[in-house]
């Protein structure tokens, strides 16, 4: 791992992690207060949230402090020497899949997903990719529906 010490640099990944944590902590404190803290005799719904939020800010704060004083790896260095485009493609496929799942149903959305995954990341030859993409989801769908009586989403077209 490349561990450059860049003091007070904005592309320090530690700093950004800490800032996100601090923001989340602040939000949790605010939610806790909104839900009412109650009293120590009868703590309310927001009691534990409030204190957890404070702890989050403390820990996030200490991450930020050490990022500022000791520096840390830059955001870019985290993705050095790796094929960063591949996970990004995969994330894109998964997001597209979750958009398609309900309207199209399980079969119509998972077969294209499988095909994309098999072809985009490390291409598998077509003669292997197509059978796998078609047969595995269909087979699983059949087992679940017929043997285990679990209905997968069938979508607008009612396929599945």
């Amino acid at each position: 791992m490349t561990n450059q010490t860049n003091k007070l640099r904005l592309n320090n990944s530690e700093l950004w992690g800490g800032l996100i944590g601090l923001a989340l902590g602040g939000f949790v404190i605010w939610s806790g207060m909104k839900l009412k803290l109650g009293t120590i005799n009868d703590p309310g719904s927001g009691y534990v949230l409030f204190y957890t939020g404070i702890l989050m800010c403390v820990f996030a704060g200490s991450i930020i402090v050490s990022a500022l004083t000791e520096g840390g790896p830059t955001l870019a260095s985290r993705w050095e020497n790796v094929r960063w485009s591949k996970p990004l493609l995969l994330i894109g496929c998964l997001v597209a899949f979750s958009v398609a799942l309900e309207p199209l149903g399980f079969l119509l959305s998972s077969i294209p997903l499988m095909l994309l995954l098999l072809r985009l990341i490390d291409p598998v030859r077509w003669t292997l990719a197509i059978p796998i993409a078609v047969l595995v989801p269909t087979g699983m769908w059949w087992v679940l529906k017929r043997l285990l009586l679990i209905q997968l989403p069938s979508g607008l077209f009612g396929i599945g």
Binding site: V28, P43, L55, M56, L90, I91, I121
Partner: protein, 502 residues
């Protein structure tokens, strides 16, 4: 001698051909259900509950019990092979188990978890036979204050789960607690952090969170590397644990078994705490703690044994008090009642044949499980020989199916994908998912019990120190927190002390 006669009587019942058959069906279904992530023992048992009505009470309950402990055996398989934990207790197995698989040692990892499970299961049964009635009081000795302190102890364990920076792990734990609190407050029924989304009223499911953070995130990380992935299938040396593996694992299995058995007695969360605590204990005792997280066999042997011993311990409060310690046991209680039996203090004396028959059948079931699981190891290891570019789409598909089947809810699939993406970026920035999952499970229980104990003590915080069991738990927690500080007063570790105020 009385016990011996009872045991003999029990085996007489369990060895009836029909009961043997039911036992086999039970453990077989249990193994299948355990291996498939998502479809847990709960859904399998509720679907099969009506089937058991046709036979005698013994055979019905023997089968249901078989599904339960059978699923405990299978639970570790996907954790080790593809980093997908099917339940909270298997999360720990992922940490070192999957690393072992990556180093070509999937066989020994699966082997030690099967043997460890067998040893732990057998011990738990013997203990169940000998001391069940005496240990009933342990289950009720834990009130809200004790549970709170136990949960604190459980959360402190997370400082041993992490290899990186402590503030990051603690931040993750806090996020886990907050995520666990989403949904209706169980005390006042107020919706918390639901953002007006109706799907969140019921809280976020554990299965989509762990499958996303572990399974999907792992795939995302692996696709980055073009060359490294072949390491998984490169050198699979042997299928069973070697002599050295056994030597390393003997202690962890023994300690894990004891820990699991006693924590398993406690209603609620016992098994999860036991498996995490066993991991922490082994790391603490190890002369080479730095190997943990990089494929240490002790990190698989201990938690897996604890997990299975807890499954045995869980029978104690059910059989002796009629108090089911978890949902699965509650289903078993339902099976008892449907058959016209009422588990409780009188069950063992009124129905000795039933009680001892069930215990004896579990012993036989454990042997069956070992015989059933060992040949399967070879098969599972073959699975890893699939090229990764074919394997990973299958992993994604199985996580989607597993998550959907565990709740029949499309929303959970979205949750899993979201946590997969979050998990990927977390791992890239050096934040580890295990503390988050542990806190996600324990946080809500800790909150609930904290509030109950404060109501009980009328706001007096001393209650946690005045009650002996609670005080012991807190003392252990303190000791665990302070121990790493003593030898080296490194700056970073000081932050741990802040947690004492929590």
């Amino acid at each position: 001698m009385d016990t011996l006669a009872n045991v003999a009587h029990g085996f007489g019942v369990a060895l009836l051909p029909v009961n043997l058959l039911y036992c086999f069906i039970g453990v077989f279904i249990g193994t299948l259900v355990g291996v498939l992530p998502g479809i847990g023992p709960i859904s399998a048992m509720s679907l099969l509950l009506p089937v058991t009505l046709s036979g005698t009470p013994e055979s019905g309950i023997i089968m249901m019990a078989g599904i339960y402990y059978g699923s405990m055996y299978g639970g570790s398989t996907t954790s080790i092979l593809v980093n997908i934990p099917g339940e909270a207790a298997s999360v720990v197995t992922c940490i070192d188990g999957h690393q072992m698989a990556k180093q070509g040692r999937a066989g020994p990892a699966l082997g030690i978890s099967a043997f460890g499970s067998f040893i732990a299961g057998t011990f738990a049964l013997i203990a169940l036979m000998l001391v069940a009635p005496k240990l009933a009081s342990v289950a009720i000795a834990f009130g809200p204050a004790e549970y709170f302190s136990l949960m604190v102890l459980g959360l402190v364990v997370l400082t041993f789960l992490t290899q990186g920076s402590m503030p990051k792990a603690l931040l993750m734990a806090c996020i886990g607690v907050v995520l666990g609190l989403i949904g209706l407050d169980s005390i006042t029924a107020q919706p918390r952090l639901t953002f007006g989304r109706m799907e969140l009223i019921d809280g976020i499911g554990l299965v989509p969170v762990v499958m996303g953070l572990f399974g999907v995130a792992e795939v995302l990380l692996n696709t980055e590397q073009a060359i490294k992935r072949d390491i998984i299938n490169a050198r699979i040396t042997q299928l069973l644990p070697t002599k050295e593996d056994w030597k390393a694992s003997a202690g962890p299995v023994g300690r894990g078994t004891l820990l699991g058995f006693f924590l398993g007695i406690l209603p609620g969360g016992g098994a999860v705490v036991a498996s995490f605590a066993s991991y922490a204990l082994e790391k603490r005792l190890s002369k080479t703690p730095e190997r943990f997280g990089h494929g240490a066999i002790e990190g698989v042997a201990g938690p897996e044994s604890a997990n299975n011993a807890a499954a045995g311990g869980a029978f104690i409060p059910l059989m002796t008090l009629g108090i089911p310690p978890n949902v699965v046991m509650a289903l078993l209680l339902g099976a008892f009642v449907i058959h016209g039996l009422q588990p409780g203090p009188l069950l063992i004396t009124q129905n000795p044949g039933l009680f001892w028959g069930i215990v004896a059948s579990m012993y036989i079931g454990n042997v069956m499980l070992l015989v059933l699981n060992l040949p399967m190891i070879g098969m599972w290891v073959q699975l890893l020989k699939l090229p990764y570019n074919i394997l990973f789409p299958l992993i994604i598909l199985f996580t989607i199916l597993g998550v959907y089947c565990s709740s029949n809810n499309v929303f959970d699939v979205y949750v899993m994908i979201a946590f997969g993406i979050i998990g990927y970026f977390m791992r890239k920035l050096g934040y580890e998912p295990a503390p988050l999952v542990l806190a996600f499970v324990l946080g809500p229980m800790m909150e609930n019990n904290l509030r109950k104990s404060l109501i009980l003590s009328q706001g007096d915080l001393w209650t946690f120190v005045q009650r002996p069991i609670s005080a012991v738990c807190l003392a252990f927690a303190m000791a665990l927190l302070i121990a790493p500080l003593l030898p080296s007063l490194r700056k970073k570790r000081e932050l741990v002390a802040l947690d004492e105020g929590a």
